[in-house]
């Protein structure tokens, strides 16, 4: 197969934009000075970091550029936010999150519980939506932090974080959101928000891996995660990852220019992909809140077959995407997100996530729409649960 990779796994990571690479390159080669140095050679690098900071500030429309802290990744930003809140409010022993958060948040729960912190994980319904009454029930004056993702990485489902932040704010509780998947795809406006902290990640935004951002609203109590230096105004020690910080700034600027494309061009491709697949493949179900999700994400379950087989056959045609199946992760159970939504096992094992970017083309969409149905058909012809174009029995008739 001569075709270059058809990359539809942008929620996993994205291509570094050529403009971003050009922008960062001189800071890996020519301008290697330390931004903290007194000499001009280093100082000019510091200026460029200031520029990057104001570009990220613009992307999320933050009031002050000092509210932007550069970190090493989205996970560091998330951990910083959580541990900062717990240290700033040592008497508060509870945090609220959801069952469908990214592992960067969820896998902290057992550790936090050992430290005596209760971690409330809110339920979702079969479309992946939260129950606001349940949230209101758990939200208390002594909650240290609410941390809820802006949009889910697997299904694209968008959560009402502004409304939830407002509720937290009224109780005097800090609100953090992991906006790693949402940034650049949805408008974010910190000037008209009461969210206290936001995590962003460079590599989901066409910057390289190894750079993240934590927004901390002015006036929010903060305790650094990493100490040992004055950088980032004493809030994140360590010599700046200069080239990547500059890349993050450029990526943020590009994301702003292309924000409208996400809602139009990228969404049009996603919709065409989804429609094309659903029209030609029977027993395919879209997972997530279709009314309210990221414009680039489509999570489809192909019943009665297993996701790894689909991925491997697509891989053979140079199509890259991912699956919520157990077999692909090395764990034995399918995606925690789909299980939290109550997606039946007949469907959860066969889920595929397509996540697009502005670099995809309609031609690629058509290539996938043409080539996927025979793959599904082939695997179903091997499956003992499928016969002559139909399942041999219904396993979970209640689920729609």
């Amino acid at each position: 197969m001569d075709r270059e990779v058809v990359y539809m796994d942008n929620n996993a990571t994205t291509m570094v934009a050529p403009e971003v690479f050009e922008e960062m390159k001189p800071y890996l080669t020519q301008f290697y000075g330390n931004p903290s140095s007194m000499h001009t050679f280093g100082g000019q690098v510091g200026k460029k970091i200031t520029e990057a900071r104001s570009r990220v500030q613009a992307l999320i429309n933050a009031e002050h550029d000092t509210e932007i802290i550069f970190t090493s990744c989205g996970t560091e930003s998330n951990s910083t936010a959580i541990f900062s809140a717990l240290q700033a409010y040592p008497d508060r022993k509870e945090i609220i999150t959801t069952r469908v958060e990214h592992p960067a948040i969820l896998s902290l729960a057992p550790y936090l519980e050992k430290q005596g912190i209760a971690v409330v994980q809110l339920k979702v319904d079969k479309h992946g939506r939260l129950d606001m009454e349940e949230y209101a029930h758990f939200l208390k004056d002594d909650t240290a932090l609410v941390t809820i993702m802006t949009a889910n990485n697997e299904t694209g489902t968008i959560f009402p974080v502004e409304e939830m932040a407002k509720m937290a704010n009224e109780r005097g509780v800090l609100f953090h959101t992991d906006a790693v998947q949402a940034a650049g795809k949805l408008p974010i406006n910190m000037k008209e928000s009461c969210i206290n902290m936001i995590s962003l990640s460079g590599h989901k935004l066409h910057a390289p891996k190894g750079i993240g951002t934590l927004y901390v609203r002015r006036g929010t109590k903060f305790r650094p995660f990493m100490r040992g230096g004055h950088q980032e105004r004493n809030r994140r020690a360590g010599t700046e990852n200069v080239a990547s910080v500059i890349a993050m700034g450029k990526a943020a600027e590009l994301a702003m220019t292309h924000l409208d494309d996400e809602g139009s061009k990228v969404k049009a491709m996603r919709d065409r992909l989804e429609k094309g697949i659903l029209e030609s493949v029977p027993r395919a179900i879209v997972n997530g809140d279709v009314e309210n999700r990221l414009p680039n994400t489509s999570n489809i379950s192909f019943e009665f077959i297993e996701g790894e087989g689909i991925l491997l056959l697509m891989n053979d045609l140079n199509i890259a995407s991912s699956s919520g199946s157990a077999c692909t992760s090395g764990s034995l159970e399918p995606s925690h997100v789909l299980r939290a939504m109550g997606v039946p096992f007949t469907a959860a094992h066969g889920s595929i996530r397509f996540s697009l970017s502005r670099y995809n083309t309609m031609e690629e969409i058509d290539y996938v729409v043409d080539n996927l149905p025979p793959i599904i058909e082939k695997l179903r012809s091997i499956s003992p649960f499928w016969k002559d174009g139909n399942p041999i029995m219904e396993f979970d008739p209640d689920y729609k």
């Binding site: 297993e306 159970e333 096992f345 094992h349």
Partner: protein
């Protein structure tokens, strides 16, 4: 991305013997859609007990499909008696090996083969179920006998290996102690002792402060003083406060540059004899 061998890839991309064998007289059905893999193995056995044809249907990952297809290739032409000897390791070997997390795919193959042969011999599946022993892993529906057999045949020694081979223990983990017991039992049958359980050092019973002080004094008198005396030194116990033991070194030790190393030695001895949290401090003159 799994590190599959070329043979696994080949058997997955172009599986042989897929489909329904209409005149099968030996059928083995194992796994379930809930667990994420299932295999229906269909064999045709002739009057000379020779397997003349085999087909399969599999719901599962790439290596499950490859293992099933490989199994059909392996059994065709063999007698039932010969086929019965095929182990899960044989299936994995036939494919040039499987990633360790995927060994359960080969176990599913050998289970299906066993079930098909039982079916051919007219053994009631219900009786087999009774022989499966108690249900160990609720999450994946794995019974004791399968775990025992797999541990025995593959020389498994850890829970992780059992999970890789049978899936048992891969869900909620509450069956881990039961799996440990099975591993130890099997290795006893093999005539070897295997300790799966983490060794937890026996905790010394809690002491009262008086007992503690008495034991520290005794240890210093009987163990440490003779040790230091060999080098012409001596020790004096000044105070005990909580976990801190304050001592002064006398004689040759007091001026010795290695006084701090001596303190480490004393601390080690006290930790060994009294309790492990003791900190020894040196009184400065």
């Amino acid at each position: 991305m799994w590190d599959y061998t070329d043979k696994v890839k080949e058997y997955f991309l172009h599986p042989k013997n897929v489909g329904v064998l209409e005149d099968a007289n030996a059928v083995g059905d194992v796994g379930s859609i809930t667990c994420g893999d299932a295999l229906k193995l269909m064999l045709k056995v002739d009057e000379n007990e020779k397997i003349v044809d085999a087909k399969f249907q599999t719901f599962g990952c790439g290596s499950a499909i490859a293992s099933s297809s490989a199994l059909t290739e392996m059994v065709i032409g063999k007698t039932v008696e010969e086929a019965e000897k095929i182990s899960n390791q044989d299936i994995a070997d036939f494919l040039g090996g499987l990633p360790k997390e995927k060994m359960h795919c080969s176990v599913m193959g050998s289970e299906a083969l066993e079930a098909a042969i039982a079916n051919y011999r007219g053994i009631d599946l219900k009786i087999i179920e009774e022989e499966e022993g108690p249900l160990i892993c609720q999450c994946f529906g794995i019974h004791e006998k399968l775990i025992e057999k797999t541990v025995m045949e593959n020389d498994l020694k850890t829970i992780e290996e059992v999970t890789n081979y049978t899936k048992a223990g891969g869900g909620c983990e509450t069956c881990h102690p039961a799996i440990e017991d099975i591993i130890e039992k099997v290795w006893k049958m093999k005539g070897k002792e295997v300790h799966v359980k983490e060794e937890t050092p026996e905790k010394k019973p809690a002491m009262t402060n008086l007992q503690k002080i008495a034991l520290i004094t005794e240890t210093i008198e009987k163990e440490i003083k003779p040790m230091l005396a060999q080098d012409g030194g001596d020790i004096e116990l000044i105070d005990i406060s909580g976990n801190e033991v304050l001592v002064a070194l006398r004689g040759a030790c007091s001026s010795c540059v290695s006084a701090y190393y001596t303190v480490d030695g004393i601390e080690d001895k006290l930790r060994e004899m009294v309790y492990p949290d003791i900190v020894v401090k040196l009184q400065k003159d």
